[in-house]
Symmetry: C2
Subunit: 468 residues, 2 copies
């Protein structure tokens, strides 16, 4: 029985299993659901044992548990793949906007609605269908690659313990490639692979002038106004070309290759439609780049909030004593968050007038950007596997947001490959999250082909004495 037939015949079982798992409200950011996150880990562990994984462990962390599983290949020289995903889900507020109970999954036609159906339980679960299909097609009892799974329970809470877990369990997690199944495709008709996520670091800038609010009649015009100083700092963060004007900000930025820019340009991007989604009347950004490049491959500085002085009704003629802003920076390879933080501090310091001081507080160490090398064998193999599953060419995308994936690549020293079938309209993080079941099946099919292909490439490479 070939991979596709196996998968189609097991669709009902697959959906039934997924519905069982989706019924567990594993909301990681809500302490009241802590028990549910544990239950979710236990459900997954039992399922992985049923599927046949040789080793299944629940890894406790300082917070909520991750599930680790391993299924060694028969061939000791076969490559090792680590699949990363998460079994926790977003909160469901505002719950009154859900048309069905978020934790009573409902199948309507090809669509399965429920919290976590797309992000990320559905995409974790296609891996167990995929490995079974792979083995059934080859009539083997073990997968062609050594398959490891790391499914964490705190991704939607910012993965606070992931780095520690990776450091601590580095040996158990050792692998040749990391496959991440937690992103989206361009759309249902345009299968694509994500090849990068932006990093991020964010800060609060607090500017202080006179120690008390002053009457603007008595003092206005003769003392420094911290709101004006902050406006200067914020306005000076970009030049007239929309580039970030913080000195050194672009120093470590790696320009995206001409090949990748060309592939991005082939995506059927409709700017008018994008602007309707953004509910904006104009696109705006760094000169020399298109909208998709601006959100995917270019770093940014964005004011997220600001406040100072009188913000209530009516006038109040004061010189405020302080002014504040929240600013976040999206990063691209190879910007180091710590280095960007130093540059931001230096810039703010240099931009302040006399009589005004500022503190710049970053909310944490920040997250590095990550990307896949589109010329690497792993990315080529994944792209071919997806093309075969979808029966069409697969393009490349990126994501403008940020995730914990850079830590996986950095600590495990393995390349990242994103194989995922979520859609932008799956309403992840929003009411009425859904997934398209046929796409989950295509995900399973893709990884079934991918494991075989990676094993074959590895054998060929070893014959030619080159590590692939």
């Amino acid at each position: 029985m070939d991979v596709r037939t196996y998968i189609e015949r097991h669709r009902e079982t697959f959906v039934a299993e997924l519905k069982e798992w989706l019924a567990i409200p594993s909301v990681s950011s809500d302490p009241e659901h802590g028990g549910d996150v544990h239950a979710s880990a236990e459900w997954l562990a039992r399922h992985l044992e049923d599927v046949g994984f040789a080793t299944v462990e629940i890894w406790q962390t300082g917070g909520l548990p991750a599930v680790f599983a391993e299924w060694p290949a028969a061939d000791p020289d076969a490559p090792t793949v680590l699949v990363y995903g998460h079994h926790d889900v977003q909160p469901v507020d505002p719950v009154e906007e859900w048309e069905t109970d978020p934790f009573v999954p409902v199948e309507q036609g090809e669509r399965l609605t429920g919290r976590g159906s797309s992000d990320d339980k559905g995409q974790v679960l296609f891996h167990t269908l995929g490995v079974r299909a792979c083995m059934a097609a080859s009539e083997r009892q073990r997968p062609p690659v050594t398959l490891k799974l790391l499914v964490e329970g705190e991704e939607e809470a910012g993965s606070p313990n992931l780095t520690g877990l990776l450091e601590e369990r580095r040996d158990r997690l050792a692998c040749d490639v990391v496959v991440v199944s937690d992103t989206t495709m361009w759309d249902a008709d345009t299968p694509s692979m994500c090849v990068g996520l932006r990093g991020m670091t964010d800060c609060q800038i607090d500017v202080y002038g006179p120690e008390v609010d002053l009457h603007s009649g008595t003092f206005g015009g003769a003392v420094p106004n911290p709101a004006r100083a902050l406006a200067g700092v914020l306005a000076g963060m970009h030049d007239s070309d929309g580039r970030v004007a913080i000195p050194g900000f672009y120093d470590d930025v790696v320009e995206v290759s001409a090949d990748e820019r060309e592939l991005l340009a082939r995506l059927p991007f409709d700017e008018a439609e994008w602007l309707r989604t953004a509910r904006s009347t104009a696109a705006a950004g760094e000169a020399g780049y298109g909208t998709l490049e601006r959100v995917w491959v270019r770093p940014t500085a964005e004011i997220n909030g600001m406040w100072s002085g009188h913000t209530g009704a009516g006038p109040r003629t004061i010189v405020p004593s302080s002014a504040h802003a929240k600013v976040s920076f999206r990063l691209v390879p190879d910007q180091e968050p710590a280095r960007v933080q130093r540059r931001v501090r230096d810039y703010v310091e240099s931009a302040l007038p006399e009589g005004v001081r500022a503190t710049v507080g970053f909310s944490g160490p920040g997250v590095r950007a990550c990307s896949s090398d589109i010329t690497s064998p792993a990315v080529r193999a994944a792209r071919e596997a997806m093309s075969r599953a979808f029966d069409t060419e697969v393009l490349f995308t990126r994501e403008g947001g940020s995730g914990p994936e850079a830590a996986l690549a950095g600590i495990l020293e393995a390349p990242l490959v994103f194989v995922a079938v979520g859609l932008d309209d799956d309403r992840i993080h929003a009411p009425n999250e859904k997934v398209e079941v046929p796409l989950l099946l295509k995900g399973a099919e893709s990884v079934a082909y991918l494991w075989e292909d990676l094993a074959a490439r590895s054998r060929a490479a070893s014959m030619s004495n080159r590590l692939w």
Copy 2:
């Protein structure tokens, strides 16, 4: 009996009368005290009748009542003086910071504590002592000038009905000079006359970008950020010399005369002490002007408040959909508030990037600046009268704040002269407001001399056929 002796002998009666009036809590901005403002008007009307004013009327307005009184000179060719003051007072919050009951006036040594003692009941009342002293010294039954009093009851509530009252009663209020007793002197040892107040107009700027807050990962860097647009608008309001960079802002500004600048420079101004009061580590403002000039004779643009997007704890990586600021402009002669408002609107419009729109809402028509011509006979006469009362030279000051005085000068078409004896440390508008009784007596003495002098100058001028 000379003026000074008369006043010293009547000190006790004067203080007793003032205490009676101060006991009436005529807080105009608090509707619960509306009855008290009426009672205060009635107290003053009765007092003015007792003093001997020929006409005493309580003028109802759309809001709280003003008191008008008139005492014609014997000589029909004598000049007419209109004294302006107010009988309403500021609220007393925070009342727990008062050391004594704000409406139980307490005399300790030369100091009288109570709400309104300095602002403005004490300064209104020295006029009735002054006119009695003037007449007693000359042994006449009527004052040497036709004396009119307009004591409004809504000054601390922004004088919302003053302009209407002035327009409506223009004939009854007709005068040759307006004497305002509602300002301060440099300090107790440095008697001075205020010769100008700045005007004001203020607005809220609302900047709108995308119609909803957007995720900065998905959209950041590719849509206009209204907070950044607002920062640009605000930062661009000043140039690097600290001048307001709104095109045309200075068009109608009359430079203060070299003579007045020289006199201002003679004030014993201690910048270090001023900075301690401001609790600021540096002075800052328009290049080419000193601190006192910056707050008194130069116009300003000051950010009073601003807000946008996420202002709570922690990060929230959004592109906010709107950003807001409150900005006030202090004006000097001859800036027209309406014209400045147009310039501000034009500037904001011109400073916005594509995809962002703004509304600029002014809180009202604004207030013009006012000033006295220091070379005019009226100012000279007042300065000489105060010098005689204080036995020392009198310097000139200005005030950086704004009041309704410009309306008096504009509608009544008469020059303004400020004769006042309040001090900056009288704590007006704050807990424990007090007044120095000896200074109130000097105020009475000053106006007693002034009325005689104005009458004498008028007679001399009419003899030489020149209007003074």
